[in-house]
């Protein structure tokens, strides 16, 4: 699916810096025209969200990243899975994720989880924050979420 800015006749780009999906909720994606700056939101219903999540592909990620996420769908979807499956966010230089934050990021639909991680990390780095916890994630959602 692609979005076109009609006045500019230009492709609208995914706003990766503004993705912070609410855990276990339907997907909301923001798109922005780089020429005129106009933004739109794509709102998916439950069935569309679920269907995409089960294909095993991820939104706005590279093919290498998608292939390099073993058991990505199962780990996010298994209700009573082992802790090793829920390792959550990868370690980042000087940034630590609390257990609560790891659990919450794991609840974000698999196919947009990497985007959500990038958003939270970018938010933390900009502010010199070294520990990502649930409170910070609430803050991120308030700031960029929809």
């Amino acid at each position: 699916m692609k979005f076109l800015c009609i006045p500019c006749d230009e492709k609208m780009e995914t706003q990766t810096e503004g993705i912070m999906p609410e855990e276990k909720k339907n997907l909301v994606m923001k798109f922005k025209c780089k020429t005129c700056g106009h933004s739109i939101a794509m709102l998916t219903n439950k069935f569309e969200t679920e269907f995409v999540s089960k294909l095993g592909v991820q939104v706005n990620t590279t093919a290498a990243e998608a292939a390099g996420t073993p058991l990505g769908v199962v780990s996010g979807a298994l209700a009573e899975g082992k802790e090793e499956l829920k390792k959550g966010a990868p370690a980042e230089d000087n940034i630590e994720w609390t257990e609560d934050a790891k659990e919450r990021i794991q609840r974000v639909p698999f196919f947009v989880r990497n985007m959500a991680k990038k958003t939270v990390l970018s938010f933390a780095k900009e502010r010199g924050i070294t520990v990502i916890d649930g409170k910070l994630m609430d803050e991120v959602r308030e700031k960029v979420g929809m």
């Binding site: 692609k2 069935f47 939104v59 990620t61 093919a63 292939a67 073993p70 058991l71 009573e80 390792k87």
Partner: protein, 293 residues
């Protein structure tokens, strides 16, 4: 106004590239496995998993390296049979998940290895009103991940322990187009034969290669005196194979010890190769080998 084709990319998600990358990963795993064989039956309770485990043990005994994929997502039993406990710690990195190592160095992957407790059911984080369509799609994806994300390494055989019924073979066939074939398993009862007959018909219609039909629990063998007696009343299973024009791989008498490991941690076959049932398993395996090699 520009059209879809005028806009570069596929919407920002590289979905086509991702699907291709996932396919390449699956292919890279499968290319290191010489033969893939599914053991199935339209009917539940015919001893598929126990037989799969013992066929694996027999193949190991004949000098082959073997892995088992437990494709029975909702009723996994291979971990239990091969002695891989729920406390087994998963090792996951970017390259995949390490398979469990069961009795006789048989590699395995099963949903049981992913669950937090031994009695945890396989449940997806669906809403209560999730439809069967979503669950089915989820299970197909889970099966693909179990095959493609497990570091099987080099194997001579990957045995696929199928769930009861004949629907999951569609998934397996699309994931593993080079499947050497399926081994159909029935017990002598008329009910079992009736259901397995449908499974064979479906596979024939779908052009899934059938290696042959095994008659499991074909009589009872006393573990003490090896005297045989009837267990089920039924018609000749060999005639079903003839009627369906598929090879009859032989009959395996029931032995009460077959579904459990011995005190030494071995599978039944390894400690009872010279029993009537052990010899029958070996004979079936020889026929499978000659069929696919």
């Amino acid at each position: 106004m520009k059209t879809y084709e005028d806009l570069a990319g596929d919407g920002g998600s590289n979905i086509i590239e991702q699907v291709e990358a996932l396919g390449e990963k699956l292919r890279a795993r499968l290319d290191r496995i010489k033969h893939k064989v599914a053991l199935m039956s339209g009917k539940g309770g015919v001893g598929k998993s126990s037989l799969t485990a013992n066929v694996a043990a027999c193949l190991i005994d004949k000098g082959h390296s073997v892995g088992i994929l437990d494709a029975d997502l909702n009723g996994p039993s291979i971990c239990h049979l091969l002695g891989v406990k729920n406390s087994h710690k998963l090792t996951i990195d970017d390259r995949g998940v390490q398979p469990g190592i069961g009795s006789h160095s048989i590699k395995l992957m099963s949903m049981d290895m992913l669950l937090s407790n031994p009695d945890s059911p396989v449940m997806w984080t669906e809403e209560a009103d999730a439809t069967a369509v979503w669950v089915s799609t989820m299970e197909s994806t889970a099966l693909r991940e179990l095959v493609a994300d497990t570091n099987w390494g080099d194997l001579d055989f990957l045995l696929i322990d199928m769930p009861p019924g004949s629907d999951r073979i569609d998934n397996i066939r699309s994931l593993i187009p080079e499947l050497a074939g399926v081994v159909e398993i029935t017990i002598p009862s008329l009910l079992s034969q009736h259901i397995v007959s449908k499974s064979i018909t479906k596979n024939n219609k779908m052009k899934v290669p059938i290696i042959g039909l095994v008659e499991n629990m074909a009589g009872y063998t006393c573990p003490h005196c090896e005297k045989e007696g009837p267990l089920f009343e039924g018609e000749d299973v060999e005639s079903l194979a003839k009627q369906k024009n598929i090879p009859y791989l032989g009959k395996i008498p029931f032995d009460t010890r077959i579904g459990r490991k011995t005190d030494s941690g071995s599978l039944y076959y390894m400690d009872n190769k010279d029993s009537v049932t052990g010899k029958a398993i070996s004979s079936v395996v020889d026929k499978i080998l000659s069929s696919i090699q």
